[in-house]
C-alpha cells in the first residue's frame, strides 16, 4: 500500500501567517509526492487543531503525519500524542519548524515563504521513511537527591519527606542553612531569620525519610530519568558524628586560630568561627564540628604535638585518621538547589572595597548585624566605634554592562531592611544611593513607604566613587561618596563613616561543574536554564533533573520557597506515575553487517555498546543507550543505525530541502 502523508500547516495566529503565505504553502504541499491531504488551521496545538489530525488518522485517510508549526522542542510531544490517539505509532509523525527558525527570524515574507516550503518538503520526505518504534518504559526509583541545603533544598527535601518519600540531601558545607542562616532579620516582615529557619533545619536533621550528607559533594551522576546513580564524596570532618554530641569542649579549648587577626572589627566579620576546630554557627545542623586541616596545629606539625581537642573530648569523637568516604546510591530524580554567591566588589576599584576601611559588603553587614555574629549584632566601625553616618550603595555589580546586566531582585529590599535596622540600633544618619527602587513583592512597596517616614535620605544616582581623600575640613577622616544626584541635577560629595555595598547575586563559581554532571545548561547570565521560562520554570532539558531557588535566577526567600515546593511536587508527580516513557530512538547494530571491529565500543560515552564474544559482533544495550548517534556516525561498516535518525531519513530531509529548486 502506498504511503499517505497528511500535512498540517499552523498559522499560529499571525505568528506564522503574518510572515508566511499560507495559501501558497498549502498549494505547494499538495504538489509533493505521497502527500494525500493538506490542511491549515489557526492553532494546530489547540484541541480542535489536534482533533483535526487525530480524526484523519482515525478515519484511515493518512498513515504519516507532518505538522508545520513551531519548534519540535515546543510541541513535538503534543502532536505525537495526537497521532497516537488517532491510532498510529507516534514515531510516524514529524515536524517542520516554520516559526522559531523561519517566520520569527526573517524579514522578507517572500523568503520566509520559500523557506517554509523547503522545510515542509524536507519533513514530508523524512516522513516517507519514518518507521514505527516501540515504546520504552522504565520504572522510577522513588528516592530523590536534593543537591544544596539552603532554604530551597531544605523546603524541597521536607516536602518530599513529608509525602513519605525518601530523600538524600547533599550539602557541601558542614551545615545546611545556606545564606539565610547568616541573616538576622528578613525583609519585608522583619521576622527573625533563625526563628523561621532553625525549626526547618532541625526537622531535616531528624526526619526519618531524609538522609543528610553534609560536608559532601556530588562527584558523579550517571544513568537517566528514574534511574540515576549518584556518587558522593563525604569529606573527612575528623569528628565522628555518631559519637559527638556537640558539647563544644573541643573548640572552646582549641589553641589554634584560623585567621591572623589584627584586631580590626571588620576583619573578623566574614570569617565566622575563628578556631581550626569549629562549629559553623550555633544553630548548625548537624551540630557537629569540623577540623580545618589547613590551620589545625595537629595537622600542621609533623610530630602532631597538639591533639588538645582529642584530649578534651569526653566521648572520644575526635579522629585525626578519618578519611574521605565515597558513597554511591540510586535515585529516580534530582533537584539542584545550589543557590548563589554574591558579587565580589573588589573588581570595582573606585568603590575601594578591600582598600579602604569601613567599606563593606552587604553580606558582611548582614553577618555583623546578626546576633550570633562576631560583634554580637552591634553595628561598629573597624576601630570599634559607633558610626554616625552610613551610606548604602545599590546595584553593585547588577544592572551594569561591565558586570551583570540583570537586576538581582533582592538588593533594593535588603538595603531598605538595613536602613531600618540601622535606625533601630543606632542614631546614625542613613543614605540610600539608588538607581530606581524595585519593590515588587507582596508587602514590599509598603515597606518602602514605611522607610520613607523613617528619616532615611534617598539619593537617586549611581555612585561614581568612594574615597578617603578629603578636599575640605569636613571630609577629613571620612569616607566620601561622590554621586550625581539626578533629582537635583548636581554632583554631590557626601562624607560618611561607613559604606555598605549592596552587591548583586550571581551564579556559583562552581555551578558549571554540577550543571555538567547533571546535563543541565548554564545561561549567559550564569544561572541554570529552565525548560521553559514561563511554563517550565523548575524542570530542565534533562528529564528527571529539576532546579529550585537562586541557582535558577536571583530570588528572594518567598520565591525560592515557592519554586522549591514546585520542584518537589514535580518530582512527586514523577514518582506517583511509577513508570516513565523514555526515548525510543536508540541505536541498533545490524549483526549481518557488523565486522566486529569494536570501534563503537570505545566511542560510546555510556559504555552501552559491548562486544558479544560468542557472536563476534557488537551489541547495543538498549537500557543504557541514550540515542546520541555517535557510534552510528563512527561505524566504518555502516552496521549501526540510529532509530528515528537513520542515514536514509536524514538524506531524505536533505533531498527535500532541494526538491523545490
Amino acid at each position: 500500500m502506498a504511503v499517505r502523508i497528511g500535512v498540517y500547516i499552523c498559522h499560529c495566529g499571525t505568528n506564522i501567517a503574518g510572515k508566511v503565505d499560507i495559501a501558497k504553502v498549502v498549494e505547494f504541499a499538495k504538489g509533493l509526492e505521497n502527500v494525500s491531504l493538506v490542511k491549515d488551521y489557526k492553532f494546530m496545538c489547540s484541541d480542535p487543531g489536534q482533533a483535526l489530525l487525530q480524526k484523519d488518522v482515525e478515519d484511515g485517510l493518512i498513515d504519516r503525519v507532518v505538522v508545520a508549526s513551531c519548534s519540535p522542542l515546543m510541541h513535538e510531544n503534543t502532536f505525537r500524542k495526537a497521532t497516537e490517539r488517532g491510532g498510529l505509532n507516534p514515531y510516524l509523525f514529524t515536524m517542520a519548524n516554520i516559526r522559531e527558525q523561519c517566520s520569527w527570524v526573517h524579514i522578507d515574507s517572500g523568503q520566509t515563504t520559500d523557506k517554509a516550503k523547503d522545510l515542509i518538503a524536507a519533513a514530508v520526505r523524512r516522513a516517507f521513511l519514518l518507521e514505527p518504534l516501540t515504546k520504552r518504559e522504565v520504572p522510577i526509583n522513588p528516592r530523590t537527591v536534593v543537591i544544596g541545603g539552603g532554604i530551597a533544598g531544605i523546603q524541597a527535601a521536607l516536602d518530599l519527606a513529608e509525602a513519605g518519600k525518601k530523600v538524600v540531601l547533599v550539602e557541601r558545607e558542614p551545615s545546611i542553612g545556606g545564606h539565610m542562616s547568616k541573616f538576622d532579620k528578613t525583609f519585608p516582615t522583619l521576622d527573625c531569620s533563625a526563628c523561621i529557619l532553625t525549626p526547618r533545619m532541625v526537622s531535616v536533621g531528624q526526619h526519618a525519610n531524609i538522609e543528610l550528607m553534609t560536608y559532601s559533594e556530588v562527584e558523579e551522576v550517571s544513568g537517566f530519568v528514574g534511574n540515576f546513580n549518584i556518587r558522593v564524596r563525604k569529606k573527612a570532618r575528623y569528628v565522628d558524628s555518631e559519637l559527638c554530641n556537640g558539647c563544644g569542649a573541643c573548640w572552646e579549648k582549641c589553641p589554634g586560630t584560623r585567621v591572623p587577626r589584627k584586631g580590626n572589627v571588620h576583619e573578623k566579620l566574614s570569617l565566622g568561627p575563628t578556631t581550626p576546630i569549629y562549629m559553623p554557627f550555633m544553630q548548625a545542623v548537624p551540630a557537629i564540628p569540623v577540623i580545618d586541616t589547613e590551620t589545625c596545629l595537629y595537622f600542621k606539625d609533623d610530630k602532631h604535638a597538639c591533639g588538645l581537642c582529642a584530649k578534651e573530648c569526653e566521648r572520644g569523637a575526635i579522629d585525626y585518621e578519618m578519611k574521605d568516604e565515597i558513597v554511591e546510591f540510586e535515585v529516580g530524580n534530582i533537584i539542584i538547589a545550589t543557590g548563589f554567591q554574591t558579587f565580589d566588589p573588589s573588581v570595582i576599584k573606585r568603590y575601594g572595597y578591600g582598600e579602604i576601611e569601613n567599606v563593606m559588603t552587604a553580606l558582611e553587614f548582614e553577618i555583623m548585624n546578626c546576633a550570633s555574629g562576631s560583634t554580637g549584632g552591634k553595628i561598629l566601625k573597624a576601630d570599634g566605634g559607633v558610626p554616625g553616618s552610613i551610606g548604602i550603595i545599590h546595584c553593585v555589580g547588577s544592572r551594569d554592562k561591565h558586570y551583570h546586566d540583570y537586576c538581582s531582585r533582592v538588593c533594593c529590599m535588603y538595603s531598605l531592611k538595613y536602613s531600618h535596622l540601622i535606625k533601630e540600633k543606632t542614631d546614625a544618619e542613613v543614605y540610600e544611593f539608588y538607581i530606581d527602587m524595585r519593590c515588587f513583592g507582596k508587602g514590599y512597596e509598603e515597606f518602602y513607604d514605611r522607610l520613607l517616614t523613617e528619616d532615611v535620605r534617598f539619593v537617586r544616582g549611581k555612585v561614581a566613587e568612594v574615597t578617603d581623600v578629603p578636599t575640605c575640613k569636613a571630609e577629613e577622616g571620612k569616607l566620601i561618596v561622590k554621586v550625581e544626584d539626578t533629582l537635583i541635577g548636581n554632583v554631590r560629595r557626601i562624607p560618611l563613616d561607613m559604606v555598605i555595598l549592596s552587591t548583586g547575586l550571581e551564579g556559583h563559581a562552581t555551578l558549571r561543574e554540577i550543571a555538567k554532571k547533571c546535563s543541565v545548561s548554564v545561561g549567559q547570565d550564569g544561572f541554570l536554564i529552565e525548560k521553559h521560562p514561563k511554563l517550565g520554570p523548575v524542570s530542565t532539558a534533562t528529564d528527571g533533573v529539576f532546579i529550585a531557588g537562586a541557582c535558577q535566577s536571583p530570588k528572594d526567600i518567598p520565591d525560592t520557597v515557592a519554586q522549591a515546593s514546585a520542584a518537589s511536587s514535580a518530582v512527586l508527580s514523577m514518582i506517583t506515575r511509577e513508570k516513565i516513557e523514555i526515548e525510543s530512538a536508540t541505536a541498533e547494530v545490524d549483526e549481518d553487517k557488523c565486522s566486529g571491529c569494536k570501534l563503537c565500543n570505545t566511542l560510546c560515552p555510556y559504555l552501552a555498546v559491548k562486544f558479544d564474544e560468542e557472536k563476534g559482533v557488537s551489541v547495543v544495550n538498549q537500557a543504557l543507550c541514550k540515542g546520541c548517534g555517535t557510534c552510528v556516525a563512527g561505524c566504518p561498516s555502516g552496521a549501526i543505525s540510529a532509530k528515528h535518525f537513520e542515514d536514509r531519513q536524514i538524506f531524505a530531509e536533505i533531498e527535500g530541502i532541494f526538491s523545490g529548486l
Binding site: M1, A2, V3, E33, N34, S71, P72, L73, N97, R99, E100, Q101, W104, V105, H106, I107, D108, Q111, T112, D114, K115, L119, A122, R125, F128, L129, K516, S519, S521, V522, G523, Q524, D525, I529, A541, T542, L603, P605, Y606, K626, G627, C628, G629, T630, V632, A633, G634, A642, F645, D647, R648, I650, F651, A652, E653, I654, E655, I657, F658, L661
Partner: protein, 162 residues
C-alpha cells in the same frame, strides 16, 4: 539577481537547535539562507551527510554543536570536531573550498551568536560564489546515498514494508 547561497545546517538538539530557537523567541533577524536539520548530537553527523548536502545543491554547510565540555552526551562534539577536521582535509581533493563547511559551537543561550554566525557564514559563502563542482562528489557517494529516496520510492509504496 545577486547570488543567494543555499546553506544546510546540522544542529544538535540540546544546545544549538535550542539556541536557534532562542534567536526566534527573541525575534532576532538573520539571513534566510539556512535550512536546518535537527540531529540529537553533533556526534551523529557523518561526513556523508555533508557531502550529500553539497551534492544535492548546498553552497555551504553549517554544523553546530554544544560548546566543548557541554555536550549532552558528554563528548559527541569532540567526535564531530575530529570528523570535521578530516573532512576539511579531503574537500580540496574534490575542488571544494574547505571554507564551505563550517563547525561552530552554539549554546542553548546563544541565540544572538547563532544569528551572527548564520549572517557571517552566508556572507562568506556569497563571496565564494555558487558551488560548481558537485559532480565530483559522485565518486565518493555510493549509489544508494545519491538516489536515496528515489530508490525507496521506486521500490514502491511503503518503504518499510519493502
Amino acid at each position: 539577481m545577486s547570488f543567494e547561497p543555499k546553506i544546510v545546517g546540522f544542529l544538535c538538539n540540546w544546545c544549538s537547535y535550542t539556541g536557534a530557537d532562542l534567536a526566534g523567541t527573541a525575534r532576532i533577524k538573520y539571513s534566510p539562507n539556512l535550512r536546518s536539520i535537527r540531529v540529537m548530537c553533533s556526534g551523529r553527523i557523518e561526513p556523508t551527510f555533508i557531502l550529500k548536502a553539497l551534492y544535492e545543491g548546498a553552497d555551504g554547510v553549517l554544523i553546530a554543536g554544544c560548546h566543548p565540555g557541554d555536550c549532552h552526551y558528554q563528548e559527541g562534539n569532540y567526535k564531530a570536531l575530529r570528523r570535521h577536521r578530516m573532512l576539511r582535509m579531503i574537500l580540496p581533493g574534490f575542488g571544494i573550498e574547505p571554507e564551505r563547511v563550517r563547525l561552530e559551537w552554539v549554546a542553548a543561550s546563544e541565540g544572538e551568536r547563532f544569528a551572527t554566525i548564520v549572517d557571517e557564514f552566508t556572507e562568506e559563502i556569497r563571496s565564494l560564489g555558487p558551488l560548481k563542482v558537485r559532480d565530483s562528489l559522485e565518486m565518493v557517494l555510493s549509489e544508494d546515498v545519491i538516489l536515496n529516496l528515489d530508490t525507496a520510492m521506486e521500490e514502491g509504496g511503503d518503504a518499510n514494508e519493502a
